[in-house]
Structures are given as structure tokens and as C-alpha cells.
Subunit: 498 residues, 2 copies
């Protein structure tokens, strides 16, 4: 009877309580009555306290020490699971309870202040709380360090193993290639119209057709479901209960359709995690970046391809015959692939999106390093927007106040979005070598082999490998911007005729 | 700093975890995908283990002992809350973990066996598991006793303070009065038609109008909501988040409308519990019987009165003009108050219902006392049906296999239903003395004074008083069948002209 059996019980308890907290979170965003907010906050607070105690208390610490001594003799699967637990355990132990509480309390206030600041377009309303968050995050660099760059520990929380030193050359290459493409497209902006996306599409039809499409992609509705919420998300309680949400805008076809395909990409990842990782620390996605690589693979690589629309346009047209009467797969494909610098990260396209991320990465890195003051953010933001995207926000609401992330302390999170794009392009190249005729399969509405490949090569592993290990195993290479630049460059040439 | 502060923290934790478990239970019955059953069972198991540990572990026991010593000096409110906690704590401590686990495991298997037995109408499929449940319950009589009658400890779990000795004369009186009324009605059965209830009523209209009516009764939808489920129920997570469910049968107007009014009666009780009892052991209803008195008060006393339908029929008719064209408040009132012996408890009427309960009470009492063998249940059931209701089930599916309760170990539960009816009639007499013109208020669709009276006299107390204390305070008298027999007799005379 080794310590792994005891560890299993600790992990099961923590996973079950985590799942319960996630059900409460899902309920809060979908069906909970407005008047129930305070009670729900109490319930969530109690659950997170007990989860923390389960993962880091005396019993867990005693088991962790025994596992650390013994694990060399475990079968490989148990070693890998133990490694993930120890990583979570050690990370949690390094952050004192007072620090975690201060962060939680500050985040609650900061989210409120951020909303008010954005509504008033007044950064100074948010500034003192953001300052406190940055101070806490700088303290975390000490608590979790030492590391080569103080921002590394924050990258590591979302993308285990990622460092400033590793990311900088990749982002440099990405920026150069992106800026070149934007310049090349600019004179051809008139060549593509996306009017079709903004016609009137009745809400219930939008949800029906989007749900039908994700089901055909492979999202399993017998172990998952779709509901409405203000902000779309994917959450799960083990691999057999995966919930997606969507929102519907009657005058914007993208929000529900592409939003739901995106969330279904996350959802299929969770549905594909191996059963034996359920209720262990190694259940769940490997990292935010790998998770985004799955959502973006389906949303962009698959569902923004011309092949996909040669199959899907007739399906969409059954529901919206008049709105789509003038469309061909080609015209629709062009409409959903316009590329144009804009102020808003969320609404930007595959190409220009990454410049929004690099800007945020640089600001976060410099804030944590103490090289940038919180008070200087608005000015630096606008200057970076001008120099990288060539557009300048008319106010802070449309500039440095546009994202919620900093208000909940999510510093280190943004790079994941771009990593997801880079990983997805690398995965796509590997898949094209592995599956002959994969583009034809998409054109024929056949996604089983694609999903099966993702399952076998990525999903089933859960957290048993680090992101870098996954990408090297799947593609034979470390993280690079090259595949993405080739992919998006080919698309830009195709769509804009450059 | 007395022990009550420590107790508050224990109660808060247990209440928050209990609320979380209830959210998971609600989700399971409403939206959870079918494939998620096993994971949900794991999560529920983990939560109940931690709740048990929170309520009965070393820390809780140490605090309980300090509270027991100190509580004489507490303010009355804190004394009452402490009393409820100690009651729960002591009860849980008396049942060894192995016993609780055996019961849970047996119940899970028994529910499955019961379903198969009912489908095959074969009691022998259920018999061995029911035997094990009865054995466990007889063991509980020893663990929780001593008591005057071994069944008392089971009554007490649903209706604190209730005993066989106290209940028997009340049930005897109730049976006599009921049998007399049934005999008197029998020759007049032809006088009332309830055809109107079984016309076609489209589902979405049914839900809309039922929801609108419960909102007018006083169920607060800003701290509550309505969803669909296979079996209607009310659940809550504190007093600010109360969930009702309903089911809709297009060819039966009763299921959704009266079902939802019934659940809203439970829901208004929970919404009316005093804020300071939230997150303590004294939050929640005083007993199953008092809870049923609230649901049945609204469903039967209010919503099956002629006054109510003089107000509500026009509202119902807006949605169902053709179906209700031939109805008057009088004819509709008669249709929803037919009284006729039948085989099925759930579908029976206000009058004959109680004979179904008395039959179950007698069987449970004798099983626990060892005076009746499990194998004899079908024969005894049929004999009691014949002698009390004058009808005999053609098979066990429609006889002793019709209820789910025994399969989950709910022995002692059934009497609550009839207690609810008796309490409701007693409350109604007290209310008529307290609120002048209360019948006219109902006829005018004014329910605020009624709800306010229930709030002040019953709801706000939560579990701080025992059921008997509540009923004596509110009515000045102990439990009796007299008020109910007067009430239902008056209705029978009115409807059937006897």
C-alpha cells in the first residue's frame, strides 16, 4: 500500500469539490436568480477554502512528502499524475493564505471599479486597485521565484514552463511577419465585403444551427449541453459533463456560430481526456495555450476554411435562405476572413489579434519588472497601438480599459491566446501530414478522423505532459511563429489576392 | 468570545456545502446530461462525507460540548439555533458511518430494483432489498432509541417530537370521519363531472399561466425560478435562491397548475425564513409536515376554493378560451374537488388521500415492530385497500410498488403528507379569525395579507420551534383531525350536495 492510494483519495476529494464549485459557477452565469448573488459568494468561498485545505493541509502535505520519496518506483502513469499534483500542491503552499485572501478581496473590488472606470472611460477610477493588484503580483514573483525574469512565474501559471526568454523571439518574429502582411493587405481592403455577417438572423434559428454544427463536428451532447449566458464560456465537471454557453446577436452571425464552435473546441478537448485522469489532478487541459489551440483549431483552421463552407453553407442556408441567397462558399469564406487593424482585441481578426496580445504582454512584463508605472499605462497603451496597429483609441474605455483580465488578477493570461493560434497552426501542419485528404474530409463534412487525431495526440493526455512536451511530441519541433505566419499569409493572399 | 461564534462557523460551512449539494441535485433533475450520472454521484458522495465530518467530527463535537455547557446564558435566539444544531449533531453521531454507508448503498440498489419490480409488477424483485432496508431501519430504532415504540425514532426524523402514541388517536378519528364521508358521497358520484381537466391545454401556455399565478400568490421570482423536471420538486440554497420545478401534461390541467402552486407553497415558506437563520442549522422548514401544510394550504385551501376560481378562471380563460368556454367558477371548483376512492395515492383527492397514508403508516409501524414480514406486504396491502377504500389493486405495480419512498429508505415519511393536511386546516381556521374578510381577499386576487400572516406566524421561525410548538402557538391547540374533517366535510357537502 503505497502513498499513491492516499493521494488518489485527496485528488478525488479536491476534484469533486472543484467540480461542485464549477457547477455553482455555471449556474450563476446561466440560471441563478439575480437576488442570489450574496449566498452564492458565500458558498463559493466555503468551497474554495475547503479545496485549498484539501490540497495543502497537513494530511495532503504528509502524503505529498511520501509520494515525493516513493514516486521513482511508480508506474509511469502514476508518476505523471503525481507530478501534476505536486506541482499544484507546491504552488499553493508557496502562497500564504493572507496573500490569497488579499488577492481575492482586491479582485472583487477591482472588477467593480473596472466596470465603473470603463463606463466612465476614466482610468483613474481603476488605477489604485490595479496598482494594488500589480503590487500583489510583484510579491508573487518573490514568493514563487526565483526566476530568470520576474514575469516568468506569471506566464508559468497559465502556460507551465513558458518564460520571457523563450517567448520573446517568437513574439518578435510574429510581430514582424504580421506587420508585413497588414501592410500588404492595406491597399486591397476594398476587395472584400463582410456585409453578409450583419444581416438579420433570428435568434432561435442561430442557436439551432450552431448546435447542430458542433454536434456534427463531434461535440457529444449526451455528455454535454449548450445554454445562454452574457459571456460565452466552456466549463466542465469531469470529462462526462461539459457545458458550453453562447450568446446570440440577431444582427451579427459571428457571435453565436463562431463563438459556439470555439467553445465546442474547448469542450471536445475536455470530453476527450482519458477516463483514468478523471478525479485526479491531471484531469483537464494541459494549459491555457493548449486549450486555446483546440478552440481556435476548430473555430479558425476548420470553420474559417473555404472547404468547411462548401459543406456548411447549404446547412446554414436551410435556416436563412433569404439572408444567404447571394452567397457562395467562396464569398462567405472571404467575408469571415477579413483582416483589418482595429481598436478592440475581442472583435479583431486572426491576423491583427496577435498584435493586441503582444502589446499586453509587453505592458504586463514591464509592470512586473518595475519598469513601467501603472499611471503610465494609458499613454503607453495608446503609443503602442499607434506604432503596431496604426490606430489610436479615442478614449481609455476603448483602449486600456477594454479587457476584464487585469481586474481579476489574470496577469500572465493574455499570451495564451496567441500561443493557441501558434500551436493550432503547428498542429494543423502535423495533421495534414498524418491524415491524407484532410481538406477533402472537411469539404465533405467528415470530422471523425480529425477529432480522433486530436484525441489520440492531445486530448487524452490531459495534464500528464507539459505544453512544450505535447507540442514537441506532436510536431517534432518547439514553439514557433512560422507555421502560423505561413497559414495566415496563405489565407491573406487567397482572400485579398495579394 | 463564547462557543456560539465557533458554532456559527461550523454551521455556515455545513450550510454552504449543503447548499452546494442541493444545487448539484437541482441540476441533476433539470439540465444535467444523461451521461454525467456517475460523476455526479461521486461529487454528491464527497460532499455528503465532508458535510457529515463538518457536523460530527472532532472539532464540531468539541464545540457542541462547549455550547451545551454555555447555552443557558445565550440570548434566546442563539439558544434556539444551538438547540437545532445539537439535535442534528447528536442524531448524526448516533449513526455509525458504516451504517450510513450501508443505507446509502442499499438505497441506490433498492431504487433500481424497485423500478424493475414495478415495471415487471413483481414484488419479489424488490423484496430482498426492502428486507435489508427494514433490517437497517430496525437497527436504527436501537441506535437512536430507546423510544416508547420502535417506529417513533423514524417519525421523529421527519416530524420532530411525533410518536405512534400521539398519532394513533388522530389517525383513528381521521379514518372514521373519512370513511363516513366517502359513504355519504358514494350515491352522489354522478353529480360532478371533471371532464374539463382532461381537455387539450398546450404546454407552453400551461407553464406561463401557472408561473404568472404563483407570482401573484407571492412567490418571488427575483429570488426564485421555475424549470421543468420529470418529478416536480422544490429545493433551495438559502432563503434567496428557491427553485421550483413542474411537469406539464397537455391532456391534464392539474399536473402543471396545481403542482406548481403546491411547490410554490413550499417555496414561499423557504423565501420567508428569517435572514438571520440563513447559513445556520435552523434555516429551512420546521418539519416535513409543516412544510406540507404550506404547500397544501396554497394548493388546496386557497387554490381549490370557489373564491379563488372566481378570480382565477378569467386569467386561465385568457390562455384557454375555447377549452374553458363552458365553465363557471362554480363548475370548475366542483371539477377540481371530486372525491372518489382510487388505487393511486398521488392521483387521489383531498379526502381519500389520507386513507392511503394511514395504510402505509400501519404497514411501516408493524414492519419496524417486527409484527409484519416484508414478504406479507402485498397481501396486507391489498386487504387494507379493500377494507378502507373498497378497491383492490389488480397487481402489485398498482398496489404496494406504487411509491418510491421505501426504496430510498424513507420509512417514517408518509405521515407528513397527512399531517400537512391537518395542520393546514388548523392554520386556515386560525387565519380566518385573524384576517377579517380573508375569503373576499381570495376572491379579489389579494394574497398579500395571507402570505404576510404565514410569514409572521410560521415561515420566519424556520426550525427554531418544533412542529408541535408552532401549531400550539398558532392555533392554541395540539394536533387534531377535527379541523380537517370539518373543512373537507363542508367541501364535500358543497360539491356533492350531500
Amino acid at each position: 500500500m503505497n502513498a499513491f492510494n492516499d493521494l488518489q483519495r485527496v485528488m478525488n476529494t479536491a476534484a469533486d469539490l472543484g467540480a461542485a464549485a464549477s457547477v455553482l459557477g455555471w449556474d450563476q452565469e446561466t440560471y441563478m436568480p439575480d437576488g442570489a448573488v450574496q449566498g452564492r459568494a458565500d458558498q463559493m468561498g466555503t468551497l474554495s477554502t475547503i479545496i485549498h485545505e484539501t490540497m495543502t493541509g497537513a494530511r495532503a502535505t504528509e502524503i505529498a512528502e511520501r509520494v515525493r520519496v516513493e514516486m521513482g518506483s511508480y508506474p509511469e502513469r502514476e508518476q505523471r499524475i503525481s507530478r501534476v499534483f505536486l506541482r499544484d500542491h507546491d504552488l499553493s503552499r508557496k502562497l500564504p493564505a493572507e496573500h490569497v485572501e488579499d488577492m481575492a478581496r482586491t479582485a472583487a473590488m477591482a472588477q467593480d471599479a473596472w466596470k465603473r472606470a470603463r463606463a466612465a472611460s476614466d482610468f483613474t477610477i481603476f488605477q489604485p486597485l490595479l496598482q494594488h493588484i500589480v503590487d500583489l503580483k510583484r510579491r508573487e514573483s518573490e514568493l514563487l521565484g526565483p526566476s530568470e525574469h520576474p514575469y516568468d512565474v506569471h506566464l508559468d501559471q497559465f502556460e507551465p514552463g513558458l518564460t520571457v526568454a523563450g517567448l520573446t523571439p517568437v513574439f518578435d518574429e510574429l510581430r514582424r511577419g504580421t506587420v508585413e502582411l497588414i501592410k500588404a493587405i492595406e491597399p486591397r481592403q476594398h476587395a472584400v465585403s463582410d456585409d453578409v455577417l450583419y444581416r438579420t438572423y433570428p435568434a432561435s434559428h442561430q442557436q439551432d444551427v450552431a448546435t447542430s454544427i458542433i454536434s456534427k463536428l463531434g461535440f457529444d451532447l449526451s455528455i454535454g449541453r449548450v445554454d445562454l449566458s452574457a459571456h460565452p464560456f466552456c466549463t466542465n465537471f469531469g470529462n462526462r459533463d461539459v457545458r458550453l454557453t453562447t450568446r446570440i446577436r440577431p444582427n451579427d452571425l459571428r457571435s453565436c456560430l463562431f463563438g459556439l464552435i470555439h467553445e465546442a473546441g474547448h469542450g471536445m478537448y475536455e470530453q476527450g481526456i482519458a477516463d483514468d485522469l478523471n478525479r485526479t489532478s491531471a484531469g483537464g487541459g494541459a494549459s491555457m495555450g493548449i486549450h486555446e489551440s483546440q478552440s481556435l483549431f476548430w473555430e479558425n483552421v476548420v470553420a474559417r476554411s473555404e472547404e468547411f463552407w462548401s459543406w456548411a453553407l447549404p446547412i446554414l442556408r436551410e435556416r436563412f435562405p433569404e439572408q444567404l441567397a447571394d452567397q457562395t462558399a467562396r464569398s462567405f469564406y472571404c467575408a469571415i476572413n477579413t483582416m483589418r487593424p482595429s481598436l478592440n482585441r475581442v472583435e479583431s481578426d486572426e491576423l491583427t489579434y496577435n498584435l493586441h496580445i503582444i502589446l499586453r504582454f509587453e505592458i504586463e512584463r514591464d509592470l512586473i519588472a518595475g519598469k513601467l508605472s501603472v499611471s503610465d499605462i494609458p499613454e503607453v497603451w495608446n503609443e503602442k497601438m499607434r506604432s503596431s496597429l496604426g490606430v489610436v483609441p479615442p478614449n481609455d474605455a476603448e483602449g486600456c480599459l477594454q479587457d476584464v483580465h487585469w481586474s481579476f488578477g489574470g496577469i500572465g493570461y493574455f499570451p495564451s491566446y496567441t500561443l493557441g493560434k501558434l500551436y493550432a497552426a503547428m498542429e494543423w501542419n502535423a495533421m495534414q501530414e498524418a491524415i491524407s485528404g484532410v481538406r477533402e474530409q472537411i469539404a465533405n463534412g467528415r470530422f471523425d478522423e480529425i477529432l480522433s487525431w486530436l484525441r489520440t495526440n492531445i486530448h487524452s493526455y490531459g495534464r500528464t505532459e507539459l505544453p512544450d512536451e505535447i507540442i514537441r511530441r506532436v510536431t517534432g519541433r518547439p514553439l514557433t511563429a512560422k507555421d502560423f505566419l505561413d497559414y495566415v499569409g496563405a489565407k491573406a493572399r487567397d482572400v485579398y489576392g495579394i
